[in-house]
Subunit: 322 residues, 2 copies
């Protein structure tokens, strides 16, 4: 199996690559080669099979021709710019997230190789108002350019799969928590910040009420979703190739209670409520709970409690010590 990962230098990309190198297999078969692409060259892992790294713009036809010319059997398409940037820079968002994805899919179509393509989509394809629990067949009306670009990528993936040009699966990721690294300006940043910062001995500001409900999955689960998607039989997926992933739906208050249980009360006390109307205005339009029945039936699994999500962060990012 030759595997291609786009967006390989990103947070999920790096964790996926580490997992692929560790497993040595994907979709039940041995990995024989791994090609890693990103705007900046991804670091080259130590592996038992050849790894190549590539840097460049994914909407550049030559770059894509090179990658697809190597005939990957599995493509993890994670590349893209994030929602805040896609909203701030309209042209760049459409060029990278839509044109880049379309160029990649067209190169696959014209190559005739028909690989399994796992596309990391997002719950940003949904826009409110929402029912309490979002069913699998809820309509996709995004309220961001990022969500629009992901939706259009999904539509291409579904049509290109139906026509036999590729064997695609779209994975709509919930909010990934706990994100390692520094706080950023994304409105969703606090969902990770209120866990990560206190565990690092720092105060974290909470801009929304503790009653806010949101669905989370750990970075480890995100990687599990991608790996599981790579191995799903095409017939099991059927024509509806984009799936809402499961996650843990909790209130922010329950997140903090989990932090207290796992990390201690002193740690949880480092979360300070500081209401921010602007953040709250955005967050209250976000989806809360997903049914994710199809994904669960197809064997996708997330954490079953937020405690587990906190523990995974401690294991993966803090050497096991809270």
């Amino acid at each position: 199996m030759r595997v291609l990962v786009t967006g390989a230098a990103g947070m999920i990309g790096r964790k996926l690559v580490a997992r692929l190198v560790g497993d040595g297999t994907v979709a039940g078969r041995k990995i024989t080669a791994l090609d890693l692409h990103d705007v900046v060259a991804p670091s080259k892992p130590e592996a038992e099979f050849p790894c190549e790294t590539f840097a460049g713009d994914l909407s550049d036809p030559e770059q894509i021709a090179t990658l697809i010319g190597r005939s990957p059997d599995v493509v993890f398409h994670l590349a893209g710019i994030v929602s805040g940037e896609a909203e701030a820079d309209f042209d760049r968002g459409y060029r990278v997230n839509l044109d880049g994805t379309r160029a990649l899919f067209d190169a696959i179509r014209l190559s005739g190789i028909c690989p399994r393509v796992v596309f990391s989509s997002s719950i940003a394809v949904f826009g409110g108002p929402f029912p309490d629990v979002i069913p699998d067949d809820f309509h996709t009306v995004p309220l961001s350019s990022y969500g629009t670009q992901k939706l259009m990528g999904e539509a291409l993936l579904t049509d290109y799969s139906r026509r036999g040009f590729m064997d695609g699966v779209g994975i709509r990721l919930p909010t990934i928590c706990v994100r390692p690294g520094k706080p950023n300006k994304a409105a969703s940043s606090f969902f990770s910040g209120i866990i990560r910062e206190p565990l690092d001995g720092k105060e974290a500001l909470l801009p929304v009420p503790r009653s806010v409900v949101h669905t989370h999955a750990s970075p480890r689960s995100a990687v599990n979703f991608l790996i599981h998607a790579a191995g799903l039989p095409s017939e099991a997926i059927g024509q509806r190739r984009c799936l809402n992933m499961p996650g843990v739906a909790v209130t922010v208050g329950e997140q903090i209670e989990a932090l207290a249980r796992v990390g201690g009360k002193d740690v949880a006390a480092l979360v300070r409520d500081e209401p921010d109307e602007a953040v709250w205005a955005l967050v209250k339009n976000w989806p809360t709970r997903f049914e994710a029945k199809r994904a669960r039936d197809l064997g996708f699994e997330a954490e079953t409690s937020f405690d587990e999500i906190v523990r995974i962060h401690i294991e993966e990012e803090l050497g096991g010590k809270a």
Copy 2:
């Protein structure tokens, strides 16, 4: 009001133009100029205001720059190739239906004119399996390249409207019945054929069981939808800018009973059942009934019986004589 119609030489386009010329107003204001575009030059109507016709490829940037440079206040975007052709010619389908639409929308965005854009979409954005009645918030997973291209056009229209580049409304048309003209190779052709051909004294073949349920609206209703959409206040539409249009949901048997009532039993006897497994295989995956609650609440109206649809065909195409 300067009005632009793309696809103005098509069946709906011609009827829309006749209506605009007859009314002399749109969205409650006087029409001051009408620009008509299609691949072949639309015929130039006699009107009380200046009309210009344009012929060319809508994905040609110069063509679009000319049309949008004239600063239309209302754009009816009907241009596109039909589902059968989009399925048969993959490249042409994406070039005309997706790239053409995107080029038009981008020209509008860059011009800064922010017109009302009425986009003729289709129930082909939906793919089965379906519930008995399709709710307004049912997910859009097309089973054709045409439906995919319409869905992507809708996504652009929604995002471009949210960002203030245009003031768009997407109109998902049900099957238009009775289509004038000759039978064609579209799988849906018989829905019109079983009414039109017998009224013309000719036998019509029915390839599916009489129990098949389908939703119809007359060409006159389609024009009404477009005109009504042009005048809707933007606030009334909100963020969800694409609407399932209402229609008459009937069985094929009920269509034929209506034909007997309006045209006579001898006419209805010209329908001959000749099952065609290939057509049936397609048709049984098509949507049957739509809730269309939002559209009805917003004042969109279709016929209330299939008898009325038959009578409209007789009035408009047969000079009132069955």
